[in-house]
Amino acid sequence: MNTGKKPEVLNINKLSKYYLSYGSLFNFKRNIIKAVDNVSFKVYKGDIFSIVGETGCGKSTLSKLILGLTNRTSGEIFYKGNILNYNLKKLNLRKKIQIVFQDPYSSLNPKKKIYKIVSLPAIKNKIIKKKDALQYSMQMLKNVGLDEDYVFKFPHELSGGQRQRISIARSLSVNPELLVLDEPVSALDVSVSAQILNLLLDLHEKNNLTYVFITHDLRLVRHMADTVCVMYGGKIMEISPVDKFFDGPLHPYSKVLLESILAYGPKNILQFADAGNININNININAGTGKNRRGCVYYNLCSRRMDKCINNEPDLKENGDVQVNCFFP
């Protein structure tokens, strides 16, 4: 991949988001939960950039930050060289960055007809006038491979796959440049998810979109993505091109992730039974309640840990086109 030649779309620089948590109402000690901690990466135009990680690693918070749905604690996000600020009307970023949510059952307004759902973002952004809404949404539905008759239906009349198509059509109605896909197929059935993936790939080619693809399914990553970004405990563990990642990841956590896929090969499942023993005692590490946490986030579960990792925090180091957050890659 000659990523160097492509213009960069998204440049995230030392971004952090901390949440405060209170033990109880009368407990004034506050815990800081570092949901996203000192994260930096770049997304280039036309790429599919995938973020992988287990539940609670901060990948959804990161997508919220990109969309401006929560405020950042520190750090900067640049979109094509400009600081990401949704309040500036001049940039009109809502038109350029859109999201497809995970659950198609809860992300559509059940009281509105499909054409209203699909056309509302376009009307608000003054792409079309209100009287053209019907015509426009018919055209949008055609783009995502749905019948035109669906414009008069309500969301409850549609199946899961059709709803996910509707939410994709809604996101595309403002002609965005960057699409954040927050686990778009994990709520869907096998054959339906194949349809949606095909649709996403078609749209990516046709409209020259850039995707930030958030998932926990590495099978999809291998199939779709250009770059893999592995997150754990709010930090980036490894960023590498897809081919190199699947040939042999450098970070110990990426190796664990890769081993845990139940691919089409016989595998002794029983070896994973003990995974829990560690998990129970260190359940907080996932969420990143960081009191004594000076060292590496992954220290307690790591297979390659050394004394150095307890007190020193590794940084994301460049190693060719692979970036690894480990002292001993």
């Binding site: 096998v190 139940l262 129970i280």
Partner: protein, 329 residues
């Protein structure tokens, strides 16, 4: 043989007054041996969950009934043989939990939120055995520890204090606490993360080895079925489409539906080039398929011919291989 299902047919009424119905399970017969895991794979809506519920007679009353067939369950010693279909309503609670028990899909919903998990487990023991409450709690703690949960510390916690994976493990502990002969697992890992779902699978596998329980594992993920089960049933529109050892079904599927299912998963093996469009089964499963006189997969099949217009019996290909298709060489 711990469970023998013979010709099980379950009616589901669409209109009870007019006696309109279709068969959600249509003359299903198979058997599970001691310590064997059989997985049932199929799309959502194919009736596989209903099959699991019917085995415990948990299918919703008034709108559905078991019209024919038998579910013969026998003790590990072969001492006790019971036909679940013939039992009366008040006799059922004796069998449920003691001989056959179930793990449900969503651990967030299936635990009572206002009762401590320890008490929920004890309830099952005390309902079946005359035991002191303290002894029962020792048993419960033992099973929680088998599930890699710190039994003594977690005994008095409420479900909301546990993570999703832990809740599902509590569910397994609850199902296993009376050492049943058969365990029905209805998509136990769909609501879970990659790593936690692996652990849950590993613990089910462990129960199989240690307690010699037979498992009917309902799933839609072929890669899970590939790793956990000895035999696989491919289920579509209430009928067994193909039945055989898991290795045969995954590596050399014969029925067009099994072929389509295996193709539509982006596997880690290099079947698909990156970004190649996935195979999609055309159309969708509808209610009318359950009533159709033809082969039930006829409308979506890529191998269909004139012979498919009649009802097709389950053909025996070898001693362990059955398929419901006439176009198999």
């Amino acid at each position: 043989m711990s469970l023998i299902i013979d010709n099980l047919t379950v009616k589901l009424y669409t209109n009870f007054k007019k006696k309109e119905f279709f068969n959600v399970a249509d003359s299903v017969s198979f058997s599970i041996q001691n310590g064997e895991i059989i997985s049932v794979v199929g799309e959502s809506g194919s009736g596989k969950s209903f099959l699991g519920l019917s085995l415990m007679r948990l299918n919703p009353p008034y709108i559905s009934e078991i019209s024919s067939g038998s579910i013969l369950i026998s003790d590990t010693d072969g001492f006790e043989k019971i036909d679940i279909v013939k039992l009366k309503e008040n006799q059922l609670s004796d069998v449920r939990g003691r001989l056959i028990s179930m793990i449900f899909q969503d651990p967030n919903v299936s635990l009572n939120p206002v009762i401590k998990i320890g008490d929920q487990i004890i309830e099952a023991i005390l309902a079946h055995k005359k035991m002191k409450k303290k002894d029962a709690s020792d048993v419960a703690i033992h099973y929680l520890e088998l599930m890699r949960i710190d039994g003594k510390a977690r005994f008095n916690s409420y479900p909301h204090e546990l993570s999703g994976g832990m809740r599902q493990r509590v569910m397994i502990a609850m199902a296993m606490v009376l050492e049943p002969v058969v365990l029905v697992a209805d998509e136990p890992t769909t609501a879970l993360d990659v790593k936690t779902s692996l652990q849950v699978l590993a613990l089910i596998e462990k129960m199989r080895f240690e307690k010699n329980v037979s498992v009917l594992f309902i799933t839609h993920d072929l890669s899970i079925a590939r790793n956990i089960s000895d035999k696989t049933i491919v289920f579509y529109a209430g009928q067994i489409m193909e039945y055989g050892t898991t290795e045969d079904i995954i590596n050399s599927p014969l029925h067009p539906y099994s072929i389509s299912l295996t193709k539509s998963v982006p596997a880690l093996s290099k079947d698909y080039a990156p970004r190649e469009r996935l195979f999609v089964i055309p159309g969708s499963l509808s209610q009318s398929d359950f009533k159709s006189e033809k082969c039930r997969f006829y409308n979506r099949c890529f191998k269909r011919s004139k012979d498919c217009l009649n009802e097709i019996p389950l053909l025996k290909l070898s001693s362990e291989r059955f398929a419901r298709c006439v176009n198999i060489q």
